[in-house]
């Protein structure tokens, strides 16, 4: 039976995050959260593998206590176990320390044959986590997986999407896979699973109960990068607005202008 891990992340709805013009800080208070959409494609890939080849799915996330709701959402879709890593010392982590923390916590749950991740998160959007997790799991890696052909005999055969075509690869297990959504659109939970997920037990790890966790490698101290400054993008001066009073005359004026400038 395959032991499958799916890494998920709760993110703020970035459309609703604003920057405080006075302080330059991001205002996240009161902003609704969601499960990173690409992680749901990763979960779907894991569920398909489980259905085809058998296995058990463990979900793992790191975040504030409320990230539990993301785990429950994913449990309802197809997870068997769920792990939450939470604690103030983990805050402010970049991908170097987050990948360290997740792998140390995952090792508490055993060894995994397949690890599925979204390609990137909508908020941080570095796209680095999967590769760094793979390295720390000492696993093979198939990024941008388009389809999974077979999982057998300690190997996975899959097709990757590249810029100008598709590559067919075969990797040994353990293997970390990031997925393209083409064949892995997320499914909705059924009512029974949804209700069961509401009360399902969740394993929680903090800085105090992960074996061999090096405090120097987590959170801010364990991060390789920092963000010393953020600022609003400099915007160019606005272009010429065409306001003639009606759509018809606006478009007429635009076509005149484009014709004069040689653009039409």
């Amino acid at each position: 039976m395959l032991n499958i891990l799916v890494c998920v992340k709760q993110i703020p709805d970035i459309d609703l995050v604003k920057m405080d013009p006075e302080t330059g800080n991001l205002v996240r208070a009161g902003v609704p959260t969601l499960t990173n959409p690409l992680d749901l494609n990763a979960l779907e890939a894991a569920v398909q593998v489980k259905e085809r080849f058998g296995g058990e799915i463990t979900l793992i996330t790191m975040g504030p206590p409320m990230a539990e709701s993301t785990l429950r959402e994913c449990l309802a879709v197809g997870g068997d176990e769920a792990v939450l890593i939470t604690g103030r010392p983990f805050g402010g982590a970049d991908t170097l320390s987050t990948s360290y923390t997740i792998v140390k916590a995952a090792e508490m749950e055993g060894k995994f044959d397949l690890i599925f991740c979204g390609k990137e998160s909508q908020d941080g959007a570095t796209g680095q986590m999967a590769s760094q997790l793979a390295e720390r799991f000492d696993a093979a890696q198939i990024s941008c997986c388009f389809s999974i052909e077979d999982v057998a005999d300690g190997k996975i055969r899959a097709t990757r999407t590249l810029e100008h075509g598709r590559e067919i690869v075969e990797a040994t297990l353990p293997c970390l896979v990031t997925v393209e959504k083409d064949n892995f659109y997320g499914r909705l939970p059924n009512l029974e699973a949804y209700l069961a997920a509401k009360t399902a037990p969740i394993t929680t790890y903090t800085e105090n109960n992960i074996d061999g966790l090096d405090p120097a490698k987590i959170g801010v101290p364990g991060s390789g990068t920092i963000v010393p400054k953020i600022y609003p993008p400099e915007l160019p001066e606005p272009g010429q607005m065409i306001r003639t009073g009606s759509v018809k005359s606006d478009v007429g004026r635009l076509i005149e202008l484009l014709t004069d400038k040689g653009s039409l």
Binding site: P37, D94, S131, G224, I230, P233, G239, L254
Partner: protein, 334 residues
Amino acid sequence: MQKSDYKNMWVYIEHDGKTAAPVGLELCCELRRLCDVTGDKLYAVILGELPAAETDKVRDCGVDGIIQVRGTGYEYFNTDAYANAFTVLSRKYNPSAIFVGGTINGRDFAPRFAVQLDTGCTSDAMELEYDPATGDIQFIEPAVGGKIMAVITVPELRPQVGTIRPGTFKYAPAGRKAEIELIEEEIDFDPAAIRCRHLDFIPDEMDPELDIANADCIVCVGNGLKDSEHLERYRVLARLLGGKIGCTRPLYDRGILPYKLQIGQSGVMVKTKLYISFGVSGAVNHTAGVDADMFVAVDKNPDAQIFNYCDYGIVGDMDEVCDEMIAQLKARQG
């Protein structure tokens, strides 16, 4: 670790054995500028064999040296051998920074050798600056969907690793240096130890509608689009203008148009004569991918950021404006 022990900047030259990918050359051009500021030497790193004419293109980008790696394991891209090569090289030569093109494979292996080297990795910077006070590179990039620009640094660790998207920097060769150092390294990676093996490659069938990078005219549809049923009129307009349609990221996320039509930093960078956007808000991530002689924006929100990037703007319902443009263009064509 002493930061001052780490000198010089490296650019990875991605290639398929025949040609060098443009992004490696673009990075050499940009890093030439930065190295002239920092006083570092610029080295291009080539794994496996690249034809001489292609290596000459690298030389023309003003590099001070080339590190040519030969050995087993580089025939096809694979994370294991490629990450290992950079780890071995970096431990031997202690570069201050390593830059890798943010292609699918570049983004696959660069974060991985950053972990092997226990150092910081950044992705998708749009500008690179040098802070002489700290000796750190400032990787400047849009964040939170383009709402802010973030300065990212690697303050204590070395090398500073960065992946940069293709098309971010211009290919403008500075010219060949009189002397270019050649460092040849033999790093064998046991092919049996490659855990993800290449079996086959199937090139995409060429679909001209999906090849928009240099289209004369692009009609770009953004998240203002109500649903896919409203899309056809934009195709009609594009055809009337002899152009093609493109989209912003939300339309790809919504499953309405394919990834190859996504314009912007994380999609395709376009160079076009006439660009007309409908229902596009104007996030930096998108506008960074547009190089247009004439830029027209249509959106219902008068405060939309897209109007800061346009030559001409119309505030209105995108579908209505599109339909009117079709009507008037058809009338004009008789």
